[in-house]
Symmetry: D2
Subunit: 97 residues, 4 copies
């Protein structure tokens, strides 16, 4: 069952599109550095790429909570607790990064 | 004069290396999504890529303050004020992203 | 049932202790401004207070997912979906602030 | 000279007002916890207080760059370098918190 593996199946194409765009943004930033572009303009692009990645992370997490965590919680027990513990750790990493 | 254009000349190679690594990280994340990897493992990689970009931004900004802003401040006047205003805006974007 | 209202009952005393400490930190920052303390020293205290609040938020959210969301998911249906939707919105606000 | 000590003299009253409001927000959050308010509503208030502190930090830093750092840069030398180094460290703490 796919739902046991990941919760983002429905939004996979959308995630891939956003990740390829973010990859292009990072490549564009490297090109700006190579071409000695102005620091502040580069910083603007780095902030945009960071925001794009953050937004991918929020989508992944939302799908994860809606599917994996919800299903595990419906079954309960140690697996559910473990799922929630690792979701909390992932959220802490996101908030602190 | 290069210093009038950007403040990261001395660390350009290091910045490019880190940006190429970040680009590889983002490509790796897309591959994980394609291969239906586990959400939490993907989130860990997204946090790592975000942190890497944040750290590139902090380096760029540090170089910018040490060179462009310091030089403009030494000359003073409207250009110095404008440099500091745009640095403050870039910092606000970084803190809020 | 308390669990229907909130998920932080077990850690309530700890949360209150941390919030009173954060309140004292913010009051201390105001005093530093009043006494014309050095900007950078004030900024260090603001970062500490922000981190303290962030950590309170992560605890609250962890308790919320472990209790409210887990219980609602165990019952399923529209209530469970609503709980997860609002948790995701709260996480997005935390990540973006 | 006050400008040698801090750069926020002109906005001191405004900073104090915002800090007292933030202190009130944190006290309000403690009261919500005491009264067993709903986790998500508390989280909303924690995010608001965090944002308020972040915005105080950005104002302090902007004043610091415009005055202390600009003046030190105008004089140049080791003091200027030290000012910029500590500003960069403060920015890194803000971005990472």
């Amino acid at each position: 069952m796919v739902s046991a593996v990941n919760g983002y199946t429905a939004s996979k194409e959308d995630l891939l599109k956003r990740l390829r765009r973010a990859e292009g943004q990072v490549r564009g930033i490297a090109r700006m550095v190579e071409e000695d572009k102005y620091c502040i303009d580069i910083l603007t692009q780095v902030s945009a790429a960071t925001k794009a990645l953050e937004s991918v992370a929020l989508s992944l997490l939302a799908d994860h909570l809606s599917h994996c965590v919800a299903e595990a919680s419906a079954e309960g027990g140690a697996v559910a607790e473990e799922k929630i513990r690792e979701a909390n750790e992932a959220i802490a990493r996101m908030v602190r990064s």
